[in-house]
Symmetry: C2
Subunit: 345 residues, 2 copies
């Protein structure tokens, strides 16, 4: 019998955090691609545009005028998917027709006053200011809502409708689906093994090394064993930290620095401003079995213009990936930590 | 207190088939869209292209020459994600690093010898031939594999790399994720209520009417109460049918006819060849609690070039939709059943 090699032989892998499987078919990278090619992303963004509602001094849809901010800037989303006061749909009349109340708030956070920068092009102290702003918004909204989702959609390919560097914060009265799955898994793991799932997972990856992308004094970045997106990564603190506000000043500086390195590698991979959706998952009140972490989900597969499509089989049956997580980690590890647009030293 | 109106007030809905929640925020359709616009889909496809590996008489990547077929044509995918003989990855050494064997086959099915037609532009007897070909491939592969996934990715937006009308069939040695979820739910519903979940669901939708799109003697098409994609639909037989091969000749003709109507409405919605991923879900051997059904997942939201992005919040927290399922059903219901490209009678 032929010996198993992950890079040659398809197999399925289990995601114990979200209780899902992925089909890994690495030999598939050999097929030619004749499908859709994305528009090239090279668009020049002006540093300041008075008509862009995210810019300092601009007037927003609701008539409010932004301050002339010079760091981060947090404000209420003018078109929120969640509002604080929606009435309750009332009791369901049938088990197959269940609806429940949803209340919340949606905020937008600008990372920087300039529209023509992205996180990897910002300085470490500027990124540190973003980390602090994330911690405060979690502190504030986490006191009122059971779940606060910080997420960044970067790039038009990820549905981002404004090039100004920003993220969103949606806080909800309900625990969203993915949070529920992670809660169940981390709860079960803790009660079975007596420690948080992601603490043991991070330790194992440090020993195994093959999926590590970056390590620092306080953080690790790795391509998870069960990654679905081609260059998906997981960013984890080494110490048991439940929520962003718990991070020490040294851990925040170190986070800013490792984020800059990761995002620089991402941009360097295909020499483009790498699109992705990312977000933080953190504990609600008193969830000791949770470990703070961020997921990065980037869609590009082969080049700056050829993405992975999660379509037919993936939507109807199971996620499928075309290179192994180990191959992805190796490629990311090998990339320089200096941004391609700045030339090499 | 304000009275609840689904079209004005956000709420969450439960999908009892796949055990998932969706956030419905219909008021969000009011926001302006300044994000990515897809390339216009108007590309002229030649009826026959000897270099297109899906055409009759063409030579494929592996050197095989297609027959001069004049109906449907089924062949092995030259770049299969699943192969029949992959070795087993062996036992896992840690509960957080679980991999398992995956074996299977991937086939491609051409619907028609011409590249410049799509299902809604084919005749009912031609679509009926596709239904028969689906039933045979399920019969054949279902005897060897526990799950056979028929799916169609239509349109470049859905990662379809070849405009020739075709679908794919992936059979696997494992039960994929979504199949597992539907199996658990249908199994549990049957044992609690003594009848298949989707039989009761279809009956309820026939009574409630507000989400129906089309009905025929043997079939229904509706926008499910828990739909995630803007114009997602569910296609169901009225009678309890577990698998495509069980369909009678009359049911197959009627299926071809209702598919033509549904896909014509889809094309008419934004006067474009409507992109989607669709697929059949059916019972494995002896699963009496399953009801055969097809899911249609189309991405377009506002026009032929503006799609719904399932990104940050959706990937990290929970699916979110911008119009209610009832609004979507109403719009689809109102559309003509004659294809826009054929002019009106
Ligand atoms: O097999 P195709 O059509 O080349 O590929 C398409 O469908 C597959 C199955 O859904 C996906 O894995 C691919 O990402 C997509 O591009
Ligand atoms: O809020 P935005 O950036 O306009 O919108 C984007 O992110 C949202 C949250 O992931 C999605 O629901 C939208 O489909 C997407 O276009």
């Amino acid at each position: 019998a032929t010996a198993f090699r992950a890079s040659e032989h398809q197999h399925i892998r289990y995601n114990p955090l979200q209780d899902e499987w992925v089909l890994v078919s690495a030999h598939r990278m050999k097929r030619p691609w004749q499908g859709q090619v994305e528009p090239s992303l090279l668009k020049t963004v002006p540093r300041h545009d008075p008509h862009n509602p995210l810019c300092p001094g601009a007037t927003r849809a609701n008539g409010e005028v932004n301050p002339h901010y010079d760091g981060t800037f947090l404000f209420d989303n003018d078109f929120p998917a969640l509002q604080p006061d929606a009435p309750n749909p009332g009791p369901s009349d049938h088990p197959l027709f269940q609806a429940e109340a949803a209340r919340g708030v949606c905020k937008v956070m600008c990372f920087h006053p300039w529209s023509d920068v992205t996180l990897p092009l910002m300085s470490v102290p500027e990124i540190r200011a973003v980390v602090d702003a994330w911690a405060s918004v979690i502190e504030e909204l986490g006191a009122q809502y059971p779940w606060v989702q910080i997420f960044e959609n970067k790039g038009a390919m990820m549905g981002c409708s404004n090039p100004h560097p920003h993220c969103q914060v949606w806080a909800s009265s309900f625990l969203p689906d993915v949070a529920q799955r992670e809660e169940r898994s981390q709860q079960a793991y803790q009660s079975q093994h007596g420690e948080p799932l992601l603490m043991e997972y991070g330790r194992q990856e440090l020993l195994r090394k093959e999926r590590l992308v970056l390590t620092s004094e306080h953080w690790l970045v790795l391509v998870p064993f069960w990654a679905v997106w081609p260059f998906q990564t997981l960013l984890l603190p080494r110490r048991h930290v439940r929520r962003l506000p718990e991070l020490t000043s040294a851990e925040r500086d170190d986070l800013a620095s490792i984020m800059k390195k990761l995002l620089t590698k991402y941009d360097n991979l295909f020499e483009t401003s790498f699109p992705y959706s990312m977000g933080w998952h953190e504990a609600g009140a008193n969830w000791d079995h949770w470990q703070l972490h961020a997921h990065y989900y980037p869609p590009l597969l082969r080049s700056a213009t050829v993405r992975k499509f999660m379509v037919g089989y993936e939507m109807l049956a199971q996620a499928q990936r075309d290179l192994t997580p180990e191959q992805a980690a190796e490629r990311l590890r090998a990339l320089p930590e200096v941004h391609y647009s700045l030339g090499q030293k």
